[in-house]
């Protein structure tokens, strides 16, 4: 039975609270469910083979206990949380898990999954090059082909061009709808809170793409017409950083007298800003995932093989999409957040703050260990920061 549609925010909230609900139903009805970690496994291939992609997150409320037996504590606590939940059987509704070498620790998760979780009969790791050099894009397309071939074997069917095209169109539609959802936070006050926005996005990562698109259309219609809008706040903020899949941080920031109107995180805009461009083949997927997604895990230069380098030009080439968001959403300050032990984001922090300074955007950097407990001390800092925004 298809999920009831157009219930808007309340449906998104329900799914956010019980992410596996719909996937369990679908699995019971015979659909294969494929979990994926991080942004880089191409969901289009999973959808095109008739399977349900389900993005795997951790749980900030659940203490990490079992994972400490197989993982050191000085690595990303988000990824440790995922393995912990896996070892506790919390992903037993998944038929497979796909990872990508988006960072070293992230790549290791698939191996740990094979060794210590073992629920899923299908596992695969996609190697992701470190640069966007043209040979790297071609190599990455080869990696996507390996993944496609492996998943075809598991699915017992071939991925045709038509199936892939249809899946790409569905996911591109979803991306377009999410961008429309973000547009609803351009007014002042915004039409929905950042926590509501995140609940919708997390729900999308928990549903087949068609159902997610229905949900989005319902939410956009509901929010556009709503009368109970959030009130005007002192500051309009951008939140930057790696994965943040829990509304607690957004609620904390908004309780400090500000609205989070846009983000640059991998649960938010990074996942939805770039479309796959025609022709909808593996090369186009490689271009979208490796080149067009703007994550610090990929090394980029202002110009290919530049022999003269300029710091400001380099920063602008890497971060000007943030500048555009600042203008389009009328941002007055930025909260840079990162989970502890994240190298790819950590090295970025002083340089991004410098870039924001040049744009006249004040910023604050906060670090947490992916637990709700670790957010409490941050509140005072955020309040003080918002106070300075005048």
């Amino acid at each position: 039975m298809a999920i009831a549609i157009n219930k808007g925010l309340s449906l998104a909230h329900d799914i956010y609270e019980d992410r596996g609900r719909r996937v369990r139903e679908l699995r019971k009805a015979g659909r294969k469910t494929i979990g994926y970690i991080c942004l880089y496994p191409p969901v289009e291939i999973i959808t095109a083979l008739g399977m349900v992609p389900f993005r795997i997150f951790g749980n900030m409320s659940e203490p990490i206990t079992l994972a400490d037996q197989v993982s050191t504590t000085v690595v990303c606590p988000f990824l440790r949380s995922i393995i912990d939940l896996g070892m506790k059987g919390k992903f037993d509704f998944l038929d497979g898990v796909v990872g990508a070498h988006t960072c070293d620790i992230g790549a290791g998760i698939i191996v740990q999954w094979r060794d210590y979780v073992k629920d899923a009969p299908f596992t695969h790791l996609i190697d992701v090059p470190h640069t966007d050099h043209p040979p790297a894009v071609e190599y990455f397309a080869g990696q996507l082909n390996s993944f496609k071939r492996h998943l075809e074997e598991y699915a017992g069917q071939k991925l045709t061009d038509d199936k892939l095209k249809k899946a790409v169109e569905l996911h591109n539609t979803q991306r377009k709808l999410v961008r429309q959802l973000y547009d609803l936070r351009k007014p002042d006050p915004p039409l929905l809170t950042s926590a509501e926005n995140l609940e919708v996005l997390v729900a999308l990562f928990s549903l087949p793409v068609e159902e997610g698109n229905d949900l989005l259309e319902g939410v956009i219609r509901q929010v556009s017409e709503r009368s109970d809008r959030p009130g005007r706040k002192k500051a309009r903020l951008l939140v930057w950083g790696p994965v943040f899949d829990n509304t607690s941080l957004f609620k904390l920031i908004e309780s400090a007298g500000s609205s989070v109107v846009v983000d640059d995180t991998c649960v938010g805009t990074r996942a939805f800003w770039a479309d796959v461009k025609a022709p909808y083949d593996l090369q186009a997927l490689a271009q979208r995932y490796l080149v067009d997604i703007k994550c610090p895990r990929t090394y980029r230069q202002a110009e290919p093989a530049e022999t003269k380098r300029d710091y400001d030009k380099d920063l602008d080439s890497r971060f000007n999409y943030i500048k555009k968001a600042i203008v389009d959403w009328n941002v007055s300050g930025a909260v840079l957040q990162s989970v502890k032990y994240c190298d790819t984001h950590g090295y970025e922090v002083p340089n991004l703050r410098h870039y924001l300074d040049t744009l006249g955007i004040p910023s604050i950097y906060i670090e947490h260990d992916y637990s709700e407990r670790s957010l409490a001390p941050i509140k005072t800092r955020v309040e003080a920061f918002v106070e300075t925004l005048g």
């Binding site: 040979p135 090295y347 002083p350």
Partner: protein, 453 residues
């Protein structure tokens, strides 16, 4: 466990029986720093490079560039006790404190050089310091920090950068039949692109004959170091880990003149072979326990190994990541870029076949099982580092697999490559004493299961 006699001759009894052939190899890297500074004073460019497992080192050398390796230099900062102010400088400039200790010390060094001293080398820097870079060569091999920290150095240096590529894959995906072909093609194109970039930057052409010559030398150096590694399986262990760490730069990143280094390694091979023939141990005490160290050592506390040697602990081998494997046969390859691609790729992918045979998903974990069997290891000293994800992340799996599959126990001692405050030698020595009983227990367990050590 083994119990062997101490060497007959010990003039002044030092706990570790250092190889004489180690010293000239150790000096090569120090001489490199001095030569690079000299060259810089003469107006020649200096390259700061990450370890790149040779695909970058050899083109740089063939172009006659002077290279320093901040990772290696950071070990000097740690061992001379001069790292702390640089770590503080990195923190004060806004970099998170949980980042790689090598990265933080390099960032702090750069901050001090460019923000406080107007481009001059910090006078407190050991061995004269590192000259200002004309090129920053990052690498995607093994850890994210290797390219992110060099990218971050753009904050201090308006210097051209390049990031070298290397596929990184676990056992199953890394063993796919058609993988080698398109990986080699990818890496060959990357090496060509890098060389074209160097030619554009330096406004001169690559000396291809020189590059071929260096590749040939690299292969011969690695054949020699590989032979030394094989000999180290002997009982008693003829070469201590501290000797390996001191002598590894000329094979790990080709420090010094490669012809000279090749001769020094041949001298080392002869000395190790002599020790094997005469059953001379790497410690001046009876070898009671054969230990493997994983991963990077506490550079600031290397004297600690003397205390363990006095207890009969012989560190007979170390992590895979610093050893060049047996080089591939490149004799039928004509394109030097493809030779380089294959030489570098071999470091990552030569171990996948073993891991597949052992049905272990992480080939690096499998290496420890191979080492445990081959070297008849009594115990592993695991040293997870608070600031190095790459070296620490898999160690719990290593611990678990060694015990489950081979009944080899591990001593888990947290520490750091740079920050000496997190390593407690006294407490570790106390734990080592208890660990001896553990090793004794598992020795009996292994024998009862039919294993031969």
């Amino acid at each position: 466990m083994s119990e062997t006699a101490a060497p007959a001759k010990t003039e002044q009894k030092r706990a570790i029986n250092r190889l004489k052939s180690m010293y000239p190899l150790r000096n090569l890297v120090q001489q490199d720093y001095i030569d690079t500074l000299q060259a810089s004073n003469e107006g020649k460019p200096t390259v700061w490079s990450m370890l790149n497992y040779w695909e970058g080192d050899l083109p740089l050398k063939a172009m006659g560039l002077n290279i320093v390796y901040p990772e290696n230099y950071s070990t000097l900062l740690a061992s001379t006790g001069t790292a702390e102010p640089f770590l503080d400088a990195s923190d004060s400039d806004g970099f998170p404190t949980h980042m790689c200790g090598y990265g933080r010390s390099t960032i702090g060094y750069s901050y001090r050089m460019m923000k406080e001293l107007g481009g001059k080398i910090p006078p407190e820097a050991p061995v004269g310091g590192m000259a200002k870079p004309a090129l920053l060569l990052g690498s995607g091999i093994i850890c994210d920090a290797r390219f992110k920290w060099f990218q971050a150095l753009g904050r201090y240096f308006d210097t051209p950068q390049w990031c070298l590529e290397m596929p990184m894959m676990p056992t199953f995906e890394g063993s796919e039949p058609d993988l080698e072909g398109y990986q080699v093609k990818f890496l060959t194109r990357e090496v060509k692109a890098f060389i074209e970039f160097l030619e554009k930057l330096l406004q001169r052409k690559m000396d291809w004959a020189r590059l071929e010559e260096l590749i040939d030398l690299a292969v011969r150096i690695h054949e020699t170091t590989w032979q030394i590694s094989e000999l180290r399986q002997s009982v008693p262990g003829p070469m201590h880990s501290t000797d390996f760490w001191s002598s590894m730069p000329p094979s790990l990143f080709f420090a010094g003149d490669m012809k000279v280094a090749l001769q020094f390694y041949r001298d080392m091979l002869a000395e190790v072979q002599d020790r094997v023939n005469n059953k001379i141990a790497a410690i001046n005490y009876p070898e009671k326990y054969r230990i493997v160290f994983a991963e990077l050592p506490p550079w600031h506390s290397l004297k600690f190994f003397d205390s363990l040697a006095e207890k009969g602990w012989n560190f007979v081998y170390e992590s895979y990541g610093y050893h060049a494997p047996k080089p591939p046969d490149l004799s039928k390859i004509s394109d030097p870029c493809e030779k380089l691609a294959r030489l570098s790729r071999n470091f990552i992918f030569n171990i996948h076949e073993h891991a597949r045979a052992d049905n272990i998903g992480n080939p690096l974990v499998e290496q420890y099982l191979r080492i445990a069997r081959g070297f008849k290891v009594d115990g592993f000293f695991l040293h997870p580092l608070i600031s190095c994800r790459a070296a620490s992340a898999g160690l719990r799996s290593v611990q678990e697999f060694l015990l489950r599959k081979l009944d080899v126990p591990t001593l888990w001692v947290e520490g750091d490559i740079i920050d000496k405050r997190v390593f407690n030698p006294q407490e570790t020595l106390a734990r080592a004493e208890a660990f001896e009983q553990t090793m004794g227990h598992y020795h009996k367990v292994r024998l009862s299961k039919g294993l031969d050590w």
